[in-house]
């Protein structure tokens, strides 16, 4: 793999540190007028998700990580693995629980997800920012109550639980922001 110098550091750059792939979250150029320059970064370990601070002396080089983000279509879950397909090449890949993380709550048939590949294997799965789901179970709706701002839990097929306004009924389709897990709107 190629190497990156500290002057190429920027948010999103994928580098190898301590044998694990990392993504640079932020990079700050530190230099006293008459002194040594440093790159103070915050990096996310793409395997564990942990974010740590890491400081480099300017001019150091770091190995690039073979990490790419691809858009893949979710196919099905076989009980152990989640299967995805590259919509262009039809190539299929299986992601384990560690890679899928909490994204499984939002995985529905044919959803286009961002799959991060490390050395060609799924490392992380990000659900689409917005999904539409049918409510499997919730308390009966309070008809006409669109003003009080109260909420109640609603259960989805995938196991996700979303707080919805009181007027929403079982069987209704709603739009959800997967980044916050919050209800956005009703889908007619």
């Amino acid at each position: 793999m190629a190497n990156y110098g500290t002057n190429e550091f920027k948010g999103g750059l994928k580098i190898m540190l301590d044998g694990d792939p990392h993504s640079i979250v932020s990079n700050e150029f530190v230099k006293p007028g008459k002194g040594q320059a440093f790159a103070r970064t915050r990096v996310r370990n793409l395997k564990t998700g942990r974010v740590v601070e890491r400081t480099f002396k300017s001019g150091e080089t770091v190995e690039a990580a073979d990490v790419i983000d691809t858009t893949m279509q979710y196919l099905y879950n076989d009980g152990e693995h989640w299967h995805f397909m590259n919509p262009d090449s039809y190539e299929q890949l299986a992601a384990d629980k560690a890679a899928v993380g909490d994204a499984y709550l939002w995985l529905m048939d044919e959803a286009l997800c961002e799959v991060t590949l490390y050395n060609g294997q799924p490392l992380a799965v990000t659900a689409p920012n917005f999904v539409e789901m049918v409510i499997k179970e919730t308390d009966p709706g309070l008809r006409g109550d669109t003003a009080t701002g109260g909420t109640k839990p609603a259960h989805m097929e995938t196991g996700a639980v979303v707080k919805v306004p009181l007027f929403i009924e079982e069987g209704e389709k709603i739009k959800i922001d997967t980044r916050s897990g919050e209800y956005v709107s009703r889908v007619k």
Partner: protein, 334 residues
């Protein structure tokens, strides 16, 4: 295609503020009788400072990283011109607002091209210069009708010893690396045995964050190993220190001042040490400025000098978060 790229980073109001800042500086310099001078941005000699990278034109000239050397040549020349005894005129102090260039410096507080306000006071030391600096800052704050934020001073050696238990000149990279480890902070192994690089990071990581966040701080009594172009002296304890200081606002470095070294022989040996360090760091080979050495041999008057970054001072004045906000076109847009 980004269709906003042609737009400036600074608003019209901010550019007015930049103009007022320079007017305010020039007004104070005029009141003080300090003469404005103009020296070339292109020079045959580059900076030998190990941590300053010069930009070079294709014709082989260097863009100045600071107007220090030509201004010192003027100081020496003026002393010579007025030394024949026939003149009763007093040699003037000098100032300049210079555009300077530093390669590979870019970030929230760095732009490869920026403005240095540099001035020299003859017959004064760095203590008098710190008072001078405070007077200028008070004038600028008064003119801008802002409340004076206050200024305090801290001693480099004391700040280091308070944490490491030893003076900076006694500290090893192992001591410093251990301190980082015990504080749970990241320390680059590539620092190797470079104690000054380790101290630079130590100061940034542990000392600067404890400076008053909304006031000026003068950091004084730099270790001898970081004397740069300052002469040496001793502190309250009789310890050898450089007669050098830096001005900060919060943790932002604004200015660097010296009681200037005037001895050409010592200057030459410091240049040689710089060049050895540059070789060690695999930095570009740069020849030392013989014109400066000749001027110093002819006689640089006893003086104190300081360089202050005007864009950063503007950031402090206007509470700007990024240097691009105070520049018409920063290096990304230039």
């Amino acid at each position: 295609m980004d269709t906003t790229h042609w737009l400036p980073g600074a608003t019209l109001d901010t550019l007015r503020q930049a103009a007022r800042l320079r007017q305010s500086v020039r007004q104070w310099m005029l009141q003080q009788g300090i003469l404005e001078v103009f020296t070339p941005a292109l020079s045959a000699a580059g900076a030998t400072d190990p941590h300053v990278a010069s930009l070079r034109t294709r014709q082989g000239k260097y863009l100045q990283t600071s107007p220090e050397f030509p201004m010192k040549r003027l100081l020496a020349a003026h002393a010579l011109e007025l030394a024949d005894g026939t003149s009763t005129r007093v040699q003037p102090d000098l100032y300049q607002i210079a555009t300077v260039f530093r390669a590979e410096e870019s970030g929230r507080y760095h732009n490869s091209e920026f403005s240095l306000l540099e001035w020299y006071r003859i017959g004064r030391d760095h203590h008098a210069l710190m008072q001078d600096l405070e007077n200028l800052l008070r004038h600028i704050w008064d003119t801008a009708e802002l409340a004076w934020p206050g200024i305090e001073s801290r001693r480099y050696g004391v700040e280091v010893r308070r944490r490491l238990g030893v003076w900076p000149e006694q500290a090893t990279t192992n001591d410093i690396a251990r301190y980082f480890a015990s504080a749970g902070r990241s320390y680059p192994e590539s620092i190797g045995g470079d104690v000054d690089a380790a101290l630079d990071l130590f100061i940034d990581e542990f000392v600067l964050p404890e400076f008053a966040g909304d006031a000026f701080t003068l950091l004084i009594d730099y270790p001898v190993s970081q004397c740069a172009l300052a002469r040496l002296g001793s502190d309250e304890e009789g310890r050898a220190v450089a007669r050098r200081f830096e001005l900060y606002f919060g943790r932002l470095e604004l200015a660097n001042g010296f009681h200037e070294l005037c001895d050409a022989t010592i200057q030459r040996s410091r240049f040689e040490a710089d060049l050895r360090k540059r070789d060690h760091l695999a930095a570009e080979r740069i020849s030392m400025d013989e014109n400066l050495l000749q001027a110093m041999a002819a006689g640089l008057p006893d003086c104190a000098g300081i360089a202050l970054g005007l864009e950063r001072l503007h950031m402090v004045l206007g509470q700007h978060a990024h240097i691009r906000e105070v520049m018409s076109f920063d290096e990304q847009r230039a």
